[in-house]
């Protein structure tokens, strides 16, 4: 009797496991085309129709992806990456662009494609990611387009160059390098901005890390604008007095036509939020500025922030 019960139990377990496995496979209609274990990441490249995506793990919900539409070079399927280009209407001049965190490389390539005369440099820690971006994400070696293999902070610390636009998107999924989120780091970034330069950064807003990150950026840059984009927030930070909508719109229209951009800066401007960081309803007033000494990024990321009310 006992043996029979045990046997029935085992068969039941095996069957339910089989159903579970089949179920999870049915949900995922992407084809895994390459996986690679690098010094820094476990990288998975998937294809679904014309779309190639890069993830750093099997858990789709926590690993942000880079997506490339192989049929349209101008497409930026990941919505927040479009708003990273909103920085184009803030910069006084557009003569040099730096990106920290290359990933699939689509944002940098979009800028290179529409502004081929402007040198675009992107810094990526993981050489395997750069290799896969060339293999699957339409990245090519071209003049004025350079990818450097380095930690972003070390690169900037050793560089004497100044940039009109610096884009920061160096943390993916659950991995947040604290040294790229501190006041000291943003000071280094600021020191590498040309006159009238701007910094755009992607921040995931669902946890308390967002509040601290926003306050930290604001500790170095007096002006921080927000662009809310499907699960992510892009901040655009700059020095000096606040820019008026009219002023930005004038530049936006000018550059929209000059560069023939696929995603109109003028349209993006409608999404601009000048949410106050101090005393507002969006950023927790108790959030602390992160420093090299105190930057508990993992602990902050574990605290969920509910009902962020963007005005």
């Amino acid at each position: 009797m006992l043996v029979r019960l045990l046997a029935a139990g085992i068969i039941g377990l095996v069957l339910s496991a089989a159903v579970l496995i089949a179920g999870s496979e049915a949900q995922d209609s992407r084809d895994l085309i390459e996986s690679k274990e690098s010094l820094y990441n476990n990288i998975y490249v998937y294809r679904q129709g014309p779309y190639y995506s890069m993830t750093f793990g099997y858990n789709r919900t926590i690993y942000t992806e880079s997506i490339y539409n192989s049929l349209d070079d101008r497409d930026l399927p990941v919505v927040y990456t479009r708003f990273m280009t909103a920085s184009l209407m803030y910069a006084k001049n557009v003569n040099s662009i730096l990106e920290i965190g290359f990933g699939g490389g689509r944002t940098a390539w979009y800028l290179h494609r529409f502004l081929p005369q402007v040198p675009v440099t992107s810094v990526e820690l993981d050489p395997a990611i750069v290799e896969l971006s060339h293999k699957y994400f339409g990245i090519k070696d071209e003049p004025n387009f350079q990818v450097v293999n380095r930690d972003g902070r070390i690169f900037l610390g050793n560089s004497k160059d100044r940039y009109d636009i610096i884009l920061i998107d160096a943390y993916r999924g659950p991995f947040v390098p604290f040294h790229l989120l501190t006041k000291e780091f943003y000071q280094i970034v600021k020191d590498h901005l040309a006159d009238g330069g701007v910094v755009a950064q992607n921040i995931e807003p669902s946890t308390m890390l967002f509040d601290s990150a926003a306050k930290t950026i604001n500790a170095v840059f007096p002006q921080v604008d927000f662009y809310v984009a499907e699960g992510n927030v892009v901040t655009i930070a700059y020095d000096g007095p606040p820019r008026s909508n009219d002023d930005l719109d004038r530049v936006a229209r000018e550059r929209d036509s000059a560069y023939n951009l696929h995603y109109s800066l003028h349209d993006m401007l409608a999404q601009r939020r000048q949410t106050p960081i101090q005393g507002g309803n969006v950023i927790d007033p108790k959030a602390k500025v992160l420093t090299d000494d105190f930057a508990p990024v993992e602990a902050l990321k574990a605290i969920e922030a509910h009902n962020r009310k963007w005005q």
Binding site: D151, P177, T182, F185, D293, F294, A295, P296, A299
Partner: protein
């Protein structure tokens, strides 16, 4: 056949020390990452350098501790070593940044530079702390037959200290008080440990 007779007080203070020293040792390894990342990045290379430096320091400490305790059979060796480590840690917060910046400037950010930076930060204090376990085993061992039990007890307590130090530093201290304050806290904890050891030697009934 008793080889040595440690008083009960000394034995208790040695086990207390085993726990706290073990805790500070691993806690400072975790903290080492906070000092190194801003200069050398947060990759697996930095972790490998940190871990290998800690293990190097421990092996130096084990060799030295073992050699010393056979020659000078006294708890003063470890009390002194712990006090020196406390002084070293107390100097770290004020000096770490210029040292790291200099290494970055002169050698760069390759494996040699990260190893050198880890060594500058960890090698001396952790070698000093590494002498603790073999000396403690030497002092507590009353007979050759019981040496296995003593060694097991000392390493067991110190390893539980390691676990506590790793977890408390990572999940409680780093999120609340900042790396420099934690380093000072460790220095104070070690100084207290050394003090307790010195005091229990004096009161030893031998």
């Amino acid at each position: 056949m008793a080889i040595t007779t440690a008083s009960r007080l000394l034995a208790i203070s040695i086990f207390f020390n085993a726990f706290v020293v073990g805790g500070v040792l691993m806690g400072f390894e975790m903290l080492g990452s906070r000092y190194l990342f801003p200069y050398f990045g947060g990759g697996i290379g930095t972790w490998a350098s940190l871990i290998s430096t800690v293990l190097c320091a421990l092996s130096i400490g084990y060799f030295a501790g073992g050699a010393f305790v056979d020659r000078y059979h006294s708890a003063r060796i470890i009390a002194g070593a712990i006090l020196l480590a406390a002084i070293y840690l107390a100097l770290v917060p004020a000096t770490a940044d210029p040292v790291m910046a200099n290494i970055l400037k002169s050698i760069g950010d390759g494996p040699a530079a990260i190893l050198l930076a880890s060594a500058a930060l960890l090698l001396i204090p952790l070698s000093l702390l590494g002498t603790f376990s073999p000396v403690a085993v030497g002092l507590l061992t009353r007979s050759a037959e019981k040496s296995g039990g003593v060694a097991g007890l000392v390493y067991g307590v110190s390893t539980i200290g390691n676990v506590a130090g790793t977890l408390i530093t990572t999940f409680m201290l780093i999120p609340t008080i900042g790396s420099r304050s934690i380093t000072y806290l460790y220095a104070v904890a070690l100084a207290v440990c050394a003090g307790i050891l010195f005091l229990s030697i004096r009161k030893k009934s031998l």
